[in-house]
Amino acid sequence: MKKKFKLPILATGPVHPLQEEMEFFQLYVDGETVVDIDVRLSYNHRGIEKISESLQFDQVPFLVSRICGICSASHPLAYVQAVEEIAGIIPPERALYVRTIINELERIHSHILWVGLAGHFIGYETVFMWAWKYREPVLDMLEKITGNRNNYGNVKIGGCREDLPEGIEEEIYPILDQIEKKMDMLTKAVLDDPILHARLKGVGVLKKEDAVNYAVTGPTARASGIPIDVRRDDPYAAYDLVDWNVCVQEEGDVFAKVVVRLLEVFEAIKIIRQALAKLPKGPITTEVKEIPPGEAIGRAEAPRGETFHYVRSEGGNTPARHKARAPSYVNVPSFKASCIGEKISDVLITLAAVDPCYSCTERLGVVAPRSGKVIYDFDMLLQLSREKTTRIRKGL
């Protein structure tokens, strides 16, 4: 340990322009090679679990949807499933399908968002602009269904708050066709691009055994050859009633993570189409009388991995204990395995590759007085990353 602290430290953060949230990385570097990494978090800690204990059961979904704005359908769903298990409520079938549709729309917009950001990180602005442009119709559709572009607030205990609007199917199908066509084009462009191959292949490899040891979830695990997916392993909503595949890649590098996410977009489109076709008629909510004492867990597959909620009720109006575990909580420590041994300019995209969501992850608040340490700008890393792309582009 002593030797480690003699190495130069490259500090990035906490306020930097690229990753939207505040986080602080200390890279211990030997020349240009990163030999160790420290992640300092808790800038975004808001104490959601504690606030949740002061809210009533049906108010909590609005709070947990604000754990993370991008997973704002998965967190309430996991919570609601836990409460429904305590109370023994079975939501009507139509509600299950509506939940599935909203969750998959969210997955599409989150994955396209990440692909765009990945392009931005390596200085490939075309991918960024294209991806975010093709994401807009999904947000418009979510706005039509739930009334908001993000933070849908559509899940409630016992069903859904809002039904799909009348005649929405005729609007969704053409938009899905359009997204599929555009994403097909984007996927082919990304997978054939020699610059992206040079930048992403073999970079930030998370080996299968490391992935198991760090217990990573979601696309991060599936890109390392571990076929886990809560939607298949512990089906919820209507995922066991539709036909779809788990996308797995073996390589574990950043490129595999891009491929997994792009393929999952197509699976999500497939699921939405089937769910719309099978959508049964009927009510979308059941009456909830009271939440008896008990405890239960709820799991849902967020775009980043497994979301886990534990709720304990003591028979009152509020949860006695509510614990949320977001996917980034297990994915972020895997930096220790994937970043060490990489060049500084490759670490940036490796850090971004798990699609970290720090606002989900924060568990602890440590208020430190301002240290006198010099903090380098994140721009420096960004510059290095972009220079490498330029170098490769010139070399081709």
Binding site: P14, V15, H16, P17, L18, E20, E21, M22, S42, Y43, N44, H45, R46, G47, I48, K50, I51, S54, F62, L63, R66, I67, C68, G69, I70, S72, L113, G116, F128, M129, W132, K133, E136, N148, R149, N150, N151, C357, S359, G365, V366, V367, A368, R370, D377, F378, D379, L382
Partner: protein, 143 residues
Amino acid sequence: MNWKIWSLKKSPWVFHVNTGACNNCDIEVVNCLTPKFDVERFGVTLVGSPRHADALLVTGVVTAQAAPRLIQAYQQAPKPCVVFSIGACACGTGIFHKGYHVVGPVDKIIREIDPNAIIAYVPGCPPKPEAMISGIVKTLNAL
């Protein structure tokens, strides 16, 4: 008109500070820069350092650990500097008002160090990109 204000209104460069937001306002801020809304047409561009910025886009409720960093970013920004509180949390702590790690809305923190700061509010959870653009336009016209 003060020439500083005149030059600020022409092409406001913005710096984005997340002080504990849920990513929602942040992705909508980035959405403003992408093809559908594309505020770069109007000279609004995102810069990488508060030292280059004319305006700070602050999203999220201010947590205890983020507050000193927000103050630092505000002090580094050249004055006059417009602070945009984006979202319900930044405007008035929103749903997190009971949180033990929350020190207050953005205006409270900024007013502590600069009572004459120019602060604009864009409420919503999250505000739509149109609302943000409208907020920026209204603020610049009012200066």
